[in-house]
């Protein structure tokens, strides 16, 4: 189910909070900001490598949210609505900040011989797949691998696989074609696999 699905409407506990936020209740606002910021910062840090940009995007997200509170119709949970605003704020940051030359993803992709065979024949990842995600060092490796992806590819992976937006939504947000979304997603996943391969191939536990 999409993270931003409208089938998960605002819940009882948030109705009261929303009323307080709209009324400008300082305590409720502070609690909302304190409780929401860590999660939003996790989202913007995933999309923006610069800590300053990630923080700015969270701040921009709240500023947008404060302005839009009166118009919020309760079609989703308040937290989901705010999450989406933060994703948009991070994307806006990407668009407006000074562009650095994009590093190529080619070095992270699998290599093939001239006859089309793998240069390094793929080997299994031993161990119990269900256990990997429970282990700190594996989770750390996955996060580092995602961080290493070039920005244009990383953001497609984040929006499609993690935020669970569909191809058309991502295409619209990034102002690229659906075909380009698919190509970048596939290449990002291939690179993610290559980056995790040395970690999980060696793992015999």
């Amino acid at each position: 189910m999409s993270t931003f699905s409208a089938v998960d409407p605002i819940e009882e506990d948030e109705v009261e909070l929303l009323a307080k936020l709209r009324a400008g209740d300082a305590k409720a606002t502070e609690r909302w900001v304190r409780e929401s910021t860590p999660r939003l910062l996790a989202v913007t840090r995933r999309m923006l490598r610069s800590e300053e940009d990630a923080r700015d995007a969270v701040q921009d997200a709240f500023i947008s949210a404060f302005r839009a509170l009166d118009g919020f119709e309760g079609g989703s949970r308040l937290s989901t609505w705010l999450h989406r605003i933060a994703v948009n704020a991070a994307l806006m940051k990407l668009r407006t900040r000074r562009r650095k030359p994009e590093e190529s993803i080619d070095d992270l992709l699998p290599n093939f011989l001239e006859d089309g065979h793998h240069v390094n024949s793929p080997t299994e990842w031993p161990g119990n797949a269900q256990d990997w995600v429970e282990r700190d060092e594996v989770r750390q490796s996955v996060r580092e691998a995602i961080t290493r992806l070039p920005e244009t590819h990383r953001n497609v992976l984040v929006l499609r696989d993690i935020e669970e937006l569909d191809t058309a939504e991502v295409a619209k947000m990034l102002e690229i074609t659906p075909g380009a979304v698919k190509t970048r997603l596939h290449r990002a996943r291939l690179a993610l696999r290559e980056l995790l391969d040395p970690v999980l191939r060696e793992d015999a536990s």
């Binding site: 400008g24 923080r55 404060f66 793998h118 990997w132 996060r143 993610l192 995790l196």
Partner: protein, 79 residues
């Protein structure tokens, strides 16, 4: 189809978006190429791990939220 092409078409194959002829070529290659079966499995695992590790409710939240950021947000609300 060779291993390189198999890799190119992997996502479309998993999303069931390959035309019939290419799908048959893909399946035929998998039948005769055990390394590509391993590649397919590990690709799926990498995607699954990426999703699970970063899933909103599974990730540890940052504990280093700067107070200056909270203050700036609250100050923006007051303006």
């Amino acid at each position: 189809m060779n291993c390189r092409e198999m890799t190119d078409f992997l996502m479309a194959y998993l999303d069931d978006e390959l035309p019939q002829a290419q799908r048959e070529g893909f399946d035929a290659h998998l039948q005769e190429c055990p390394p590509c079966i391993v590649y397919l499995d590990t690709y799926k695992e990498a995607v699954r791990l990426g999703k699970q590790v970063c899933a909103r409710d599974d990730s540890p939240l940052p504990e280093d939220v700067p107070e200056v950021l909270i203050d700036a947000i609250l100050a923006a609300r007051e303006r």
